[in-house]
């Protein structure tokens, strides 16, 4: 018995030894995350991993940002959100607006050394237009959207011609859209013999070196990159890579990313949370920069809701809101209020868009009395994925209560909220729209027939008509008049109350030189250099 007890103490030690041995073996075989970067590596934090490297296909904003460093399209958005040539040297539109002729820049080469030709443009286009590939913007060009692309031809090695079935004011804009992958042109070796995507072989300033899923994406400088002359300009202009390597490091946790930046674990966070700004500002070794983006945050109303279908209730709620005060609180004073759907950074943002109805509690009470409001609850859906949306809902609740409106806030996760948004299943919702780089597209996100597209917010026939006209007219003055009219009606109908376009604030270590945000909000590693001490 004594011997058995004596022996019984030994398994504990053995087990612990085995445990540590097993752990060591696992650690030896586990995947690497962040090997020490070289001095000339720019490390940029991403809040989530990219979804793929296939431009415009299985994408999100992070994916678009990374892929835009590797693959380029014929045209791209400039800093001022107009469209300019990128791979194209020039774009010529026929007088009837049905034919677009793109002359390619001579001497361009893919990352594998192959020359870029019109055939590559046609190859990439056909892949985009193959329904099975689920290109994000397929419906914009296959007849379901603005104009159908009837054919794309390579006239000669450096000339591509697109033929449309009708004129479209948005054809080039849609080609340039980052969420469409900028209709990026890639070499056919990007795709395997089975038609499946392998990896991007593009013409961009950086090449894909390694993608360690969930961990990092490494890009290396393309030494043969043929940059446009001049300055960096949005997604076009001079895109010369100054650093030898870029590492997009996936750090989901906000606090961890802050610690990483402060300790030098990353060099740049391009999307600092507004409520973290005061803390970042206390660090002299960080350079902060804020830039208005084209995204839009606001409060959507379901105009078919039994209570909110009464425009007087919607107007009353809008009248209770002190929008400038709210925006100041929500963004730590970085953003300016905007009640229009058109972002301030848009060239179509003018006097008509800058109207800012004031807060008027008495008028709100009067409207509520006229509408026979009896204290029914209005429920606002919000999410904590974006803190500003939750705060927006809470501030609305507080301000509306002053006029006697009873508002509840229900918090959902982003997936559920998106589901409810798409089904139109809400009374009110604090929502954020991703950037739209044309005023028609900004309006298109809210206007449409609810019967066929329940996610649409505003479905009056006049709004739908004006939107349609703005998309088919290429005359700028006419378009501006239409947008002005839409903005006036938006304030009357109040299908939504928009507050502001998000400010994108970046924080970089002081040795990061040349980084600059832009209205799309995506990070750009070209034109950025490192001057580490």
């Amino acid at each position: 018995m004594e011997t058995r007890r004596k022996n019984a103490a030994r398994p504990l030690a053995r087990l612990l030894t085995a445990t540590f041995t097993l752990a060591a073996c696992l650690a030896l075989g586990a995947p690497a995350l962040h090997a020490q970067p070289a001095q000339d590596t720019l490390r940029i934090r991403l809040n989530a991993d990219i979804r793929s490297t296939d431009p415009g296909i299985n994408r999100d904003a992070n994916t678009d940002a990374v892929v835009s460093h590797i693959v380029e399209g014929l045209v791209a958005f400039r800093e001022d959100t107009t469209v300019g040539p990128l791979l194209a040297q020039s774009v010529t539109t026929s007088p009837d607006g049905l034919t677009y002729t793109f002359a390619l820049r001579p001497g361009l080469r893919f990352h594998n050394g192959a020359p870029l030709t019109a055939d590559d443009v046609v190859f990439s286009w056909h892949r985009y237009m193959t329904p099975a590939n689920n290109w994000r913007c397929l419906s914009e060009f296959d007849g379901r959207g603005q104009a159908k692309v009837l054919k794309v031809e390579a006239k000669d090695p450096l000339t591509v011609v697109y033929t449309l079935d009708r004129p479209s004011a948005l054809f080039l804009e849609t080609l340039a859209r980052p969420d469409c992958g900028g209709a990026g042109v890639y070499h056919r070796s990007s795709v395997g013999p089975d038609g499946k995507w392998r990896e991007p072989v593009g013409t961009g300033p950086f090449k894909l070196a390694e993608w360690k899923r969930g961990q990092y994406i490494d890009l290396v400088r393309n030494p043969d990159y043929a940059a446009l002359p001049g300055k960096r300009d949005g997604n076009t202009g001079n895109k010369t890579a100054e650093v030898a390597r870029v590492r997009f490091v996936v750090i989901p946790d906000v606090a961890a990313s802050k610690a990483a930046l402060l300790s030098g674990g990353v060099d740049l966070i391009f999307d600092v949370e507004d409520n973290d700004l005061p803390e970042y500002r206390r660090h002299p070794e960080l350079v902060m920069q804020s830039m208005p983006t084209m995204s839009l945050n606001g409060l959507l109303f379901q105009t078919r809701d039994p209570l909110l279908k009464d425009v007087r209730i919607r107007r009353a709620l809008a009248l209770t809101l002190d929008v400038p005060e709210m925006v100041d609180a929500l963004t730590e004073g970085t953003a300016q209020p905007n009640r229009s759907v058109i972002p301030r950074a848009s060239p179509f943002y003018g006097r008509a868009q800058s109207g800012m109805p004031g807060r008027d509690i008495a008028a709100a009470r009067k409207l509520l009395a006229e509408a026979g409001y009896r204290g029914q609850t209005i429920k606002i859906l919000a999410t904590k994925r974006y803190n500003s949306l939750f705060d927006m809902a809470v501030l609305t609740q507080a301000m509306a209560s002053e006029a006697g409106l009873k508002v509840d806030v229900e918090v959902l996760d982003w997936a559920t909220m998106l589901d409810r948004y798409n089904r139109g299943d809400y009374q009110a919702m604090a929502f954020t729209y991703s950037a739209r780089l044309d005023a028609s597209l900004s309006y298109e996100m809210i206007i449409g027939p609810k019967d066929r597209q329940p996610r649409k917010v505003w479905d009056t026939p006049e709004a739908i008509r004006l939107l349609g006209n703005s998309m088919n007219t290429t005359d700028r003055a006419q378009r501006q008049a239409m947008f002005d009219s839409l903005d006036a009606r938006l304030l009357e109908d109040v299908p939504a109350v928009f507050f502001y376009s998000e400010m994108r604030t970046s924080a970089a270590r002081d040795y990061v030189k040349g980084y600059k945000g832009w209205p799309m909000g995506q990070p750009r590693a070209w034109g950025v250099s490192l001057a580490r001490r």
């Binding site: 019984a8 103490a9 504990l12 087990l15 612990l16 445990t19 540590f20 097993l22 752990a23 060591a24 696992l26 650690a27 030896l28 075989g29 586990a30 995947p31 690497a32 995350l33 962040h34 090997a35 020490q36 991993d49 299985n58 994408r59 999100d60 329904p131 689920n134 994000r136 419906s139 379901r144 969420d179 360690k212 899923r213 969930g214 961990q215 490091v249 996936v250 750090i251 989901p252 946790d253 606090a255 961890a256 990313s257 610690a259 990483a260 402060l262 300790s263 674990g265 982003w414 997936a415 559920t416 998106l418 589901d419 948004y421 798409n422 929502f431 991703s434 996100m445 597209q453 996610r455």
Partner: protein, 318 residues
Amino acid sequence: MSSSFLLYLLRRALWTVPTLLLVAVLVFVLMRLIPGDPAQLILGDAGTAEQLADLRAQFGLDKPILVQFGLWLSHMASGDFGHSLSSGEAVLPLLLERFQVSAAIVLVAVGAATLLAVPAGLFAAWKQNSLTDTVIVAGATFFLSIPSFWLGLLLLLFVGLKLGWVPVVGYVTFSQDWRAAASYLVLPVITLTLIEMGVLTRMARSSAIETLRLEYVTHARAKGLSELRVLLRHVLPNAFAPTWTLIGLVLGNLLGGIAVLETVFTLPGLGRLLVDAIFARDYPVVQGCLLFTAGIYVLVNLVVDLFYPLFDPRVATS
């Protein structure tokens, strides 16, 4: 190995089948009950109804639920965990890769916690109701009460940022650079060790107190054995059995992923994979993760049960 032992092993292994089947059904049904659609998340706020339908069809989400379940189950039975809807990656290799990261941290932390907690618990029990006992119990309760993310963040900010002793983000393998690997792992391991030490210390202490009251311990002392000998040879083996059961449960829980710590320390582990997949409604990954985790849980507890007779010979006899 006796035939009865093999029979026991076989019986336990067979019991895992209905358990895992039940888990599979629950996981599948629960995921489908949660609102939200992976296709919708991929398309975002600008996807049209046509695009949504196309993507749903591509993912097979347009098929009836029972057909989807049947297909998934039949694939699982052949070892095919499917592909991630978000990234297109095969799920099983992804799980195994991420599991290695979580397991390395968990095994070291639980091993270290055991090494520290068992002697501490034993000592506290031996010194029951003394100042030493109070300090140990208070310390254990303190660490037990702290949320792991908070402790992790504190360590991250103080040790990583303020003192600059270790990097705050990153991970490399020991085979690449053992010094760097150790520096990346030290904070998550310390965090987890401290948290788990609290639970184990309390369990070890209470078990040891029970054992110390038994007559054979009094007999051993009466024989003139030293206190150290009494504790190590007579108290520890008996007191360790319940702690061993707890270790099994803790390991089973933690090996399923330490999502919070993995997020705080930016480690590419199983827990973070699961959380990301839930937010993305990536059904194959979530289902694969949970089934894998359930399998690990069952396996760990089976191993714990098999080792149990080493600490308590009565179990082997029965």
